[in-house]
């Protein structure tokens, strides 16, 4: 093909494969394009098969790196499994992609909407069915709310977005959301849509949904209640919320898992966000070590984060986190 044949760049040659988070797909496209352009002999394949599938394939040794919307889970034995996959060394895990999750809606004549976490929970739980419900009206004084039915839209597939969204609801909604945080939508009501794009496409007049902010496009987004203020989704807001979230200090060295604080009241923070990771081994064959290291370094680099921000609308990693991540990736070596 016309776009595959130029031979510029470094002398690196080879193919590596990754799989996992679909939320990271847009960012991955940008990263792969950037890295492949600089290293035309290299092909990085990425299969956005979902976070769970990515981790599983990584553990099976079918791919070289994984991307996941949630950190490796110790209880499910993922950490140990990853360790044995990496020849007994602990796997490396660094955040690569941070993005706000927007509550999107479409309602004729209403282009600004404030919602508290518990109201959102009740809407998605089917407890609030009309747009002019008192609970919504309280958050939106002076807004002329119609009496039409609300159609909540959720993901039909397993999704990191759903996991983070339900995590937020279960922690921030003051008990209005009784379900645990899960990749699978826990309810059988409302409209189901496949993938982030599916949710976006399903938002028609009267609908409300949640989606990675990068794909929201022209849809209207609700502001969520943080403390006493209402905050609209933004990369900065997510970055702020990330900054107040500590890293998980129970983890081994090289594992930068973050304990997201959903209930922060920090002004301007947007705690409904998704932190997604790349997972790799500390050592690889000669043929691959340089490529994996080079690619992942690019991912967490300033350039890489900027590329993701412009293509996927994500929040660049905060400087401190980025430095830590870069130094972890830098330890990747040939066996």
């Amino acid at each position: 093909a016309g776009n595959e044949s130029d031979g510029s760049g470094s002398s690196l040659k080879g193919t590596i494969a990754g799989a996992g988070s679909s939320a990271q797909d847009s960012a991955m496209k940008a990263w792969r394009a950037g890295y492949q352009t600089d290293n035309s002999g290299v092909t990085v394949n990425y299969n956005p098969s979902g976070s769970g599938a990515g981790v599983e394939q990584f553990v099976d040794g079918a791919i070289d790196f994984a991307a996941s919307d949630s950190a490796l889970d110790a209880e499910k034995g993922e950490i140990d499994a990853a360790k044995s996959r990496c020849g007994g060394e602990n796997a490396l895990e660094v955040p690569s992609y941070v993005s706000p999750i927007a509550v999107v809606y479409s309602l004729d004549g209403v282009d600004k909407l404030n919602l508290s976490a518990s109201t959102i929970a009740k809407i998605f739980d089917g407890k609030i069915t009309k747009w002019n419900d008192a609970a919504i009206a309280i958050d939106n004084p002076g807004v002329d709310l119609p009496g039409s039915t609300i159609t909540p839209v959720h993901r039909s597939d397993e999704s990191g977005t759903t996991k983070n969204f339900t995590d937020y609801l279960s922690k921030a909604a003051d008990g209005a959301w009784k379900y645990p945080s899960d990749k699978v939508w826990p309810l059988k009501s409302g409209e189901a849509a496949n993938g982030t794009s599916g949710v976006i496409a399903a938002i028609k007049s009267g609908s409300i949904g949640y989606a990675d902010e990068s794909q929201v496009g022209d849809l209207t987004v609700a502001s969520i209640k943080v403390g006493d203020a209402y905050v609209a989704p933004s990369a900065e807001g997510a970055a702020k919320a990330l900054e107040v979230s500590p890293t998980d200090d129970t983890r081994a060295e090289g594992d930068l898992a973050i304990k997201v604080d959903r209930t922060t009241t920090e002004a301007g923070a947007y705690p409904l966000f998704l932190a997604s990771y790349v997972i790799a081994c500390p050592t690889y064959d000669k043929a691959k070590a340089d490529i994996v290291k080079g690619f992942l370094s690019y991912v967490v680099s300033t350039d890489g984060q900027a590329a993701a921000a412009s293509n996927a609308g994500s929040a660049p990693l905060p400087a401190a986190l980025q430095t830590k991540a870069a130094s972890i990736i830098n330890t990747i070596a040939a066996k």
């Binding site: 979902g50 599983e56 059988k188 496949n194």
Partner: protein, 310 residues
Amino acid sequence: MSTVTTGTGSPKRRLGDLVFANLTRAAGLTILIALAGVGIFLTVEGIPAFGAGPDDLKGHSNLLTYVAPLVFGTLLAAVIALLIAVPLALGVALSISHYAPRRIAAGVGYLVDLLAAVPSVVYGLWGIAVLGPKLVPVYKWLASHFDWIPFFAGPASNTGRTIFTASIVLALMVLPIVTAITREIFAQTPRLNEEAALALGATRWEMIRLAVLPYGRSGIVSAAMLGLGRALGETMAVAMVLSASGVVTWNLISATNPSTIAANIALTFADATGTARNALIASGLVLFLITFVVNFSARAIVSRYEPGSK
């Protein structure tokens, strides 16, 4: 000049014939083996799913409760599709065989074949982009006037991506095969019987009722069943058009819809892993068995009426 070689051990059956005959038989057997293979491999890869837990079954406690709603959705969509497609197909088949002038009939026949040539993914596009949105007002109207009928209980879908829309798309997709078979059968009605009816003073419709429909009855039944087989197994159009929650409901126009086995596989296969994939394969086995039984029965009916069989 050749002579008969008697006694000198010319083989009774020649090597070439032996090889070729066995080769062709092997090809025939390969097909049977492939068919059996479909069942066997699906079974082998489906068996681990019996041990699957809620994690791999979208929260269902066992395989049965996982597959049952999907079977419901599959049957519901297919049956509605047939209810739409069969009368239409009969009309189209009759228009080709008995109503349209010969030239037009040929053109219509070609158009119907064209309908069959459109790939299902394109039907999916059309269903999402054209049909669904066009039906939203219809569903809204139905939900506000006929909500006492369980099928139209509402609230109406916002996107039009309901089981009913999916069934309409399915109906279009099975229409060509049902039409093709019935039109073939109608065209084979003995001219003599048609003329007998007309000569008795029958109108065209009475002639069709007297001579054409009774003659084609079993053919219509099996055409419908073959259509059913198609509708049960059609994947992409449903996967794309339907907003599937996997519930069991008779409500045809709401945003919360049953899913079908095939659509569920297509939609969730990519992000399923391990036992979850086994569960999908097991549901595929169920689909295979259902369609096999339906097609088997349909073909059994057809073959009874084929010339040369008793």
